[in-house]
């Protein structure tokens, strides 16, 4: 009996100690982060109201965490102007793209760790499942700039009519297309391919001439996924209604003949060395240099790449590069993606007002124009009142590809959140560890896991 008493007393002592520790920690937690969202309450009431956030002033620092390549030089210049105007410093924390989502999600799970603004890809399933914006982001529906943002962009960054983020991106000219070296094509008598067979022949001709056909930055882990998922319009054209069927859990990626064709062609290109012998070490940051040197004839990039190359290498003229769509599975449809890298204000931030002021500053018409004029990668911007000037080659592309389709990472649910996983399994496919059929089956499996976890009705 006595030993039982002693154990009981010891246990009581431990519980009291535990309660004391929890109690000591509680007030800090309450002020630092809002309570987790309850699913049965409207999202707008879940995040802290703007009025609760402390005012900001000179000396305030807002921390902005984003993936490599999402924060452009022009934005960093604007951030300096913002600091001059308000005294608020923007601290950019740029994470390598192959690690970004792991780092971000771990930080968000750990209570934010000092984040004020975080970057994320827009798109309904992404912001709901991957970023959980209903819990993690401050609603911005009442901000004036939302009315000026392209409605397609607003739709991709909103849930149940509430806008959670800011997208400043070239969502039209930002389409991922093949940028090719016109001189290399002309020297080897190659014209713009319209089928995969023509494309493969062009690659072989270039390789025989000593030019590596395609610069593909595999090392970043995300870029090569474009070859597979940006082909959404051709998958849809071959099987109309496929995206809806996938979202309703009435179709699968596995066994889809068009997808298998695209993946087999991609593997064939890798095996034939069209991406070069050291392709798995290629980095996205070296794209301009690689294309400017003329060692490579093509790469998958945006309308803005020629301008970026010319800016970095003035000897290389901008009009040396043209555009055509990725012709896997004989695709001739322009792949458009209204979703893009976006910014969100973390709901647990102590500087919500300062972050809102930063967003307001960035979206002023003169600053948006500054962004477009000074960011070579952007040919257009997704905001009203910004004047864009297209080059002859950009206009030629628009005139050639009249038919447009939505990419599958946006059209199909539970695809974009697994982007890096698809990248990993595609690399495994290139190295021979898995087959194209495995790539499709694994994509289905991850979709199923996410859908079940999210309680999707179609998977019940």
């Amino acid at each position: 009996m006595k030993s039982k008493n002693m154990l009981l007393k010891l246990l009581s002592l431990m519980i009291v100690f535990g309660v004391l520790i929890t109690a000591c920690g509680a007030p800090a937690t309450a002020t630092e982060a809002p309570a987790p969202a309850k699913t049965d309450e409207p999202a707008a009431t879940e995040a802290p109201a703007a009025t609760e956030a402390p005012a900001f002033g000179p000396g305030t620092t807002i921390t902005y965490i984003a993936s490599q390549d999402w924060v452009r030089d022009a934005e960093q210049e604007l951030a300096k102007k913002f600091e001059t105007e308000t005294g608020v410093h923007v601290d950019f924390q740029i994470i390598p793209s192959d690690q970004y989502f792991n780092v971000l999600e771990t930080k968000l799970e750990a209570g934010g760790e000092g984040i004020d603004i975080f970057g994320g890809q827009s798109g309904k399933t992404d912001i709901k499942l991957q970023l959980n914006v209903e819990k993690n982001a401050v609603p911005l529906t009442d901000q004036e700039w939302v009315k000026r943002m392209n409605p397609l962009s607003v739709e991709q960054i909103s849930l149940d009519g509430i806008t959670y983020g800011l997208t400043i991106w070239d969502t039209i000219g930002g389409s991922w297309v093949i940028v090719y070296n016109k001189k290399a094509f002309a020297d080897n008598g190659i014209s713009v391919p319209k089928t995969y067979a023509e494309f493969a022949t062009a690659c072989q001709t270039l390789q025989d001439a000593g030019v590596t056909p395609i610069y593909e930055p595999f090392a970043d882990g995300w870029h090569h996924v474009l070859w597979f998922l940006e082909m959404g319009p051709v998958y849809e054209a071959a099987n109309p209604g496929l995206a809806d069927a996938l979202n309703a859990n009435k179709a699968t990626f596995a066994g889809n003949p068009t997808m298998l064709t695209a993946l087999n062609q991609l593997k064939e290109m890798y095996d034939k060395g069209y991406f070069g012998t050291d392709a798995l070490s290629n980095e996205f940051a070296n794209t301009e240099a690689s294309m400017a040197e003329g060692k490579y004839a093509m790469t998958v990039n945006n309308f803005g790449l020629p301008s970026q190359i010319h800016k970095a290498y003035p000897d290389v003229p901008e009009d040396n590069f043209g555009f055509f769509v990725i012709p896997l599975a004989d695709n001739q449809i322009w792949n458009v993606n209204p979703a893009a890298p976006s910014k969100f204000i973390y709901s647990g931030s102590k500087n919500i007002e300062a972050a809102k002021a930063y967003f307001e500053f960035l979206t002023r018409p003169e600053n948006l124009q500054f962004m477009l004029d000074n960011e070579a990668r952007f040919a257009m911007l997704n905001f009203e009142g910004v004047k864009a000037e297209l080059t002859t080659d950009q206009q030629a592309f628009i005139d050639t590809y009249k038919k447009q389709g939505t990419v599958y990472q946006t059209a199909v649910n539970y695809v974009n959140p697994q982007w890096m996983d698809v990248g990993q399994v595609l690399t495994a496919m290139f190295t021979g560890a898995v087959t194209p059929e495995d790539v499709l089956a694994e994509t289905d499996q991850r979709r199923t896991d996410m859908a079940i976890s999210a309680g999707d009705e179609a998977w019940k």
Partner: protein, 319 residues
């Protein structure tokens, strides 16, 4: 033989007895010899709160479907473990972890022992300088090591391949981090380079406590250096080797950072280890699976650690 049954008054009564528990007639009894029990209460509470309870909670959570997308946590039995054992990728990460551990233990022990012998018995001048140089990689942050070696091992522009091509050894120039058959061994190489200094220092300390008289006596008996190594150095170094092997074993099974900074588990899944998978699963919000993997690794580590200590302790006793 049996002391008094423990009560609260006994706990706080200053005594001079050392404390230990005995069972007699189905009752827990405590014997005092040196210090009162309450000296340890604070430590026990802290240890329980921050080590034992989270550990047990982790084991429990590995049997649940805990994930980011749902506020409910349901007990699902061995489903997470069944998933781990049924998916090739998880198996692959476990086998990579074991290969990494075994190879790094062997390489670090052998090379560090050779360097320790060289720098404590071989070199007569500048040995401290050499010790510092070899130890230096141990204090370089892993992220720096990652950046430097990604550059050195780049297949086209890296210093290693440039050197090999420069001296006419083009055939040896490899895709060190992107060839799936080679990448894990490149990671092992970098980790060994970084880790041998630390192991070497421990071994030098172990070598220095071996009395010189043993070697003198052996020399008088006509022993050569090889005999000295096998008959004196190695047996008397066994406690040190136990420590270093245990350190290497635990480090190897928990390896994460060197893989993360060099290959991020790639190309494909070629260099995934258990902890890189745990991190990725955790960041995907699949906490149940990720804690199940951690629990599994804990069991493997406990079995390996127990087996290793038992084996090496018996060798120590033999010597």
């Amino acid at each position: 033989m049996i002391e008094s049954v423990v009560g609260l008054k006994d706990l706080f009564r200053p005594t001079t007895g050392m404390l230990y528990f005995v069972f007699h007639d189905g009752k827990l009894k405590m014997k005092n010899k040196i210090y009162p029990f309450y000296f340890s209460v604070g430590a026990i509470i802290l240890y329980s709160l921050f080590m034992v309870i989270p550990g047990l909670l982790g084991f429990y959570l590995s049997f649940t479907d805990w994930n980011r997308y749902s506020s409910e946590i349901n007990f699902i039995g061995f489903q997470n473990f069944a998933l781990i054992f049924s998916k090739q990728n998880y198996w692959h990460s476990i086998s990579n972890t074991i290969i990494f551990t075994v190879v790094t233990i062997v390489l670090k022990t052998v090379i560090a022992l050779m360097l320790a012998l060289l720098l404590s018995k071989g070199l007569k001048r500048f040995f401290n300088f050499h010790r510092v140089v070899i130890y230096l990689p141990a204090i370089i942050p892993m992220i720096v090591v990652g950046i430097v070696f990604r550059s050195i091992l780049h297949p086209a522009t890296g210093a290693l391949n440039e050197f090999l091509r420069g001296v006419g050894l083009d055939l040896l120039a490899q895709q060190w981090l992107t060839n799936p058959n080679l990448a894990l061994y490149s990671v092992i190489g970098v980790d060994t380079w970084k880790g041998i200094g630390y192991i070497m220092v421990i071994m030098i300390a172990g070598l220095q406590v071996i009395p010189a008289e043993y070697y003198e006596a052996a020399q008088l008996d006509g022993a050569n250096q090889w005999d000295e190594f096998w008959q004196i150095t190695l047996p008397l170094l066994m406690p040190t080797l136990t420590v270093t092997t245990m350190l290497n074993l635990l480090y190897g099974l928990k390896v994460f950072d060197v893989v993360w900074v060099l290959t991020n588990g790639g190309p494909g899944y070629a260099t995934e280890t258990v902890y890189t998978v745990v991190f990725k699963e955790f960041s995907k919000g699949r906490y149940g699976v990720s804690t199940a993997l951690s629990s599994l690794l804990f069991v493997i580590m406990s079995i390996c650690g127990y087996w290793l200590i038992k084996m090496m302790h018996s060798k120590e006793l033999e010597t």
